[in-house]
């Protein structure tokens, strides 16, 4: 086991991909000379050169679409969109082209493209730089959506994403980049299952991405009070691993979903619906969720904190469904 940061794990994954497959290249705004907005690609330009670590103009629609074309043309592009906020400028290419090409062409063309983007709030970057739109992308058939929440997953999910013949979007929560974690020598990188991050039997806490550390902190507090929560990390937001979710809920009979997205139309809502469809009679209490408050994420530190899911709120929600 080695200890490293989420950022370094992601860089190691990109480095390994560039080293092992000449079809792989990295493209995006400031990925080269600047070293990546979040310093993920620092040093890669120097090592792999400007053909394979490409700085792009500020034209998200253009370079994401170019990634699609390059994938169709035999390459394995990793396109970095600086943040999910700017991915809205590329939404047409992602939704109308990348996701549809295989189906519209009757199965003739595949788009083996990986799009990475930072997501989420918590750094006082205010409303236009704090979005969580994972659920928008997870809504769309034809793409796969990953949310590595651990350092191990940051290192290990890129390779299977690149090996996948279809477009894969990887969400990297901005609050995770500095987190440290243990990484095993061998890869544990499937991109189809959820993971049980903590075993328990009192209540299922189901979450993904940047909320995982908060949920684990909440589970620790609950444990101090004798409540053993099970923590499910979705890892893959499309296709959802419903079986793992349902198995946990059947065991715990109570569940809280924690999702940094806004509550209305959220991934949390989708997960609750699946639990109700498949495990309604196994439930001992109504389901609950902890989502972001339905406001644009404010700048001021105390307001931002109040808008986002926090361990205290997760603990309170878990206690409420347990009635204690």
């Amino acid at each position: 086991m080695t200890s490293m940061t989420y950022r370094d794990a992601m860089r190691a994954a990109i480095h390994a991909a560039l080293e092992s497959d000449p079809r792989v290249f990295l493209m995006g705004e400031d990925v080269g000379r600047y070293g990546g907005t979040y310093a993920v690609s620092k040093g890669l330009l120097e090592e792999f050169g400007p053909q394979r670590v490409r700085d792009t103009p500020l034209s998200e629609l253009g370079f994401v679409g170019a990634g699609i074309g390059a994938a169709l043309g035999g390459m394995r592009p990793i396109v970095e969109v600086m943040t999910v906020n700017f991915s809205l400028l590329a939404l047409d290419q992602i939704v109308n082209t990348a996701a549809l090409y295989h189906h519209m062409s009757g199965g003739q063309f595949s788009v083996p493209l990986v799009i990475r983007m930072a997501t989420g709030a918590g750094r006082q970057l205010a409303a236009q730089h704090s979005h969580s739109f994972e659920n928008w992308y997870a809504h769309i058939p034809g793409i796969k959506v990953l949310a590595p929440a651990t350092v191990q997953d940051a290192r290990d999910m890129l390779a299977p994403a690149l090996a996948d013949p279809d477009p894969v979007i990887i969400f990297e929560h901005v609050q995770l980049y500095n987190t440290e974690g243990e990484v095993s020598a061998e890869a544990h990188g499937d991109i189809c299952t959820a993971a049980v991050r903590r075993s328990g039997s009192a209540v299922s806490l189901i979450t993904y991405g940047g909320s995982l550390p908060k949920v684990l902190a909440a589970a620790d507090r609950l444990a101090r009070d004798g409540i053993e929560a099970e923590v499910i990390d979705l890892r893959v937001l499309r296709p959802l691993d419903t079986a793992t979710i349902v198995a946990s809920v059947r065991k715990c009979r109570r569940a809280v979903i924690i999702d940094e997205g806004w509550r209305t139309g959220s991934l949390a809502a989708e997960i609750m619906a699946r639990i109700v469809e498949e495990a309604f009679y196994d439930l001992d209490a109504p389901l609950a969720r902890v989502c972001s408050a339905e406001v644009p994420i404010p700048y001021a530190r105390h307001l931002e904190a109040a808008a986002l899911p926090q361990p205290e709120g997760i603990v309170a929600a878990a206690r409420a469904v347990l009635g204690r």
């Binding site: 035999g74 295989h102 296709p239 959802l240």
Partner: protein
Amino acid sequence: MIAPPPSGPVPYPADFALALLRDMVRIRRFEEKCAQAYGEGKIRGFLHLYIGEEAVAVGALHALQPQDNIVATYREHGHALVRGVSMNSIMAEMYGKREGCSRGRGGSMHLFDAGARLFGGNAIVGGGLPVAVGLALADQMQNAARVTACFFGEGAMAEGAFHESINLAALWRLPVLFCCENNLYAMGTALARSESQTDLCAKAAAYNVPTLKVDGQDVVAVHEATRQAARAVREGGGPCFIEYQTYRFRAHSMFDAELYRDKQEVEEWKTRGPLHTFSARLKTEGKLTEDAFLALDREANAEVERAAAFAEAGSWEPVEDLTRDVYTLAEPESRI
């Protein structure tokens, strides 16, 4: 600037000149049949006819090579036909049949053919442009001697996608041939009503891209200009932009009452129809007889009838296969 094509007699041997004419007639007859089938309810959805613009696809695509990539718009029946996609599979696609070139998933606006390197059929205006840039990037990175020809209408030049794409292509000197089919109307909006700069070549030139304006009703002019531009692109000179000045004789789609343009204007453009002007020219030059034209027309009609019969006889994809081809590798249903 690239030099304009030479004037004078048709600079081709008779068999190649007839091949150009034959493809224009094939497109015309095919689309007339499509319009009829639409009226009979056999083709549904949107149907955008290329009638009047045939010289562009025919002249341009005959100037390209089989290994080149083609990215087209939703008005792409002609491009698919000239590119060698079988008329049977295109008509079957129109009918929504499993034997269609996109297995009935695409319809008129989404004709695809991997073998012909036809990357669609894109129904988002400007949507094909970034994809074409990426295809060309892949070729540049893999040292492939390939040109990517991207067709789009003048309406797409108001989209950000055009500007982002041509900038990237020029910045990285990518082998993209930007083929602007300027038919003067973005659906019902005339060029001058939507663009502050109506000189389309000036827009492209702003990105340091060589440009060429050509009479899109003249298949020879189209062919010569495209050949010249494609050669420059293939030799590594970076992208080129060609504006083909053309005109659509029919409505935008089957739902268009054409309230936005004068009938007189349409009639004037029809006097410059690409089929009759080219066949008249060939006759004048002694390269075509009336009998030969009639024979060629009969062949085209026969091919169209065979395609319609093929489409009629085609099968429907079983509904059990509704969700195939969403992902390349089948997903276990429980996980979606």
